[in-house]
């Protein structure tokens, strides 16, 4: 990635009754490689592993072979989740600003079924996303760069 891709935080409309202001999420557009359907994906810096809905996995062609399952606790329920190595692509929020070429990466994902999340069909965690990119969170926006950007900046 030549430049950082800058993204706004997204207000999906949660918590409109809150007096403390908008609920903002760090969301990026992601697709399964070679598939033009784009999903909004939340970046969860506290999430150890990238998790996806089985319907997202189903868009992959060919369907990847399953890896070893993992046990995950989400929303008070334990899931035995199959893992896969899935080729994903990160998209810029606005192709008019910089390169419009999606950035591919190979992600380890766990597939949660039934999908418990009420917001997006992908949650990007440490394994499967934050190991592949440098993500910088600012007060009013965030940016995604190549993984190497961190070492270049901080040594």
């Amino acid at each position: 990635m030549d430049d950082a891709w800058r993204y706004p935080y997204t207000d999906f409309g949660e918590g409109r009754d809150l007096q403390s202001g908008s609920v903002l999420r760090a969301a990026v557009p992601v697709s399964v490689a070679a598939v033009p359907v784009i999903f909004s994906a939340i970046i969860d810096t506290g999430g150890p592993l990238t998790v996806v809905s089985i319907d997202v996995l189903a868009t992959a062609d060919p369907h990847p072979e399953p890896g070893p399952p993992v046990l995950l606790n989400l929303g008070g329920r334990t899931y035995r989740a199959a893992t896969f190595r899935l080729s994903l692509q990160l998209h810029p929020i606005d192709a008019r600003n910089g390169s419009a070429t999606p950035r591919p990466w190979l992600s380890t994902v766990a597939v949660i079924d039934p999908w418990p999340h009420k917001g997006t069909a992908l949650i990007l965690g440490k394994t499967g996303f934050l190991e592949s990119f440098t993500v910088t969170f600012g007060p009013s926006a965030f940016a995604v760069e190549d993984a190497e950007a961190f070492e270049i900046r901080f040594g």
Partner: protein, 62 residues
């Protein structure tokens, strides 16, 4: 720099939102919406689920 979406009309549904924030397709099931996006070639949209604005805010968007 905030992208504010108005999805109240589709609470609980999966929606395909274009870059201007307009909902171009919606469905109760994610699989059905993916099929519609493919059939109508709505490839400039982004798929997400519309939250309930009055529901408690969750960590992890769960």
């Amino acid at each position: 720099m905030v992208r504010t979406l108005q999805l109240d009309e589709w609470v609980g549904e999966w929606v395909a939102v274009d870059r201007s924030g307009h909902v171009l397709a919606h469905a109760a099931q994610l699989r059905a919406l993916i099929a519609e996006v493919e059939d109508r070639a709505l490839f400039e949209t982004e798929i997400m689920r519309a939250p309930d604005p009055s529901a408690p805010v969750s960590y992890g968007f769960g």
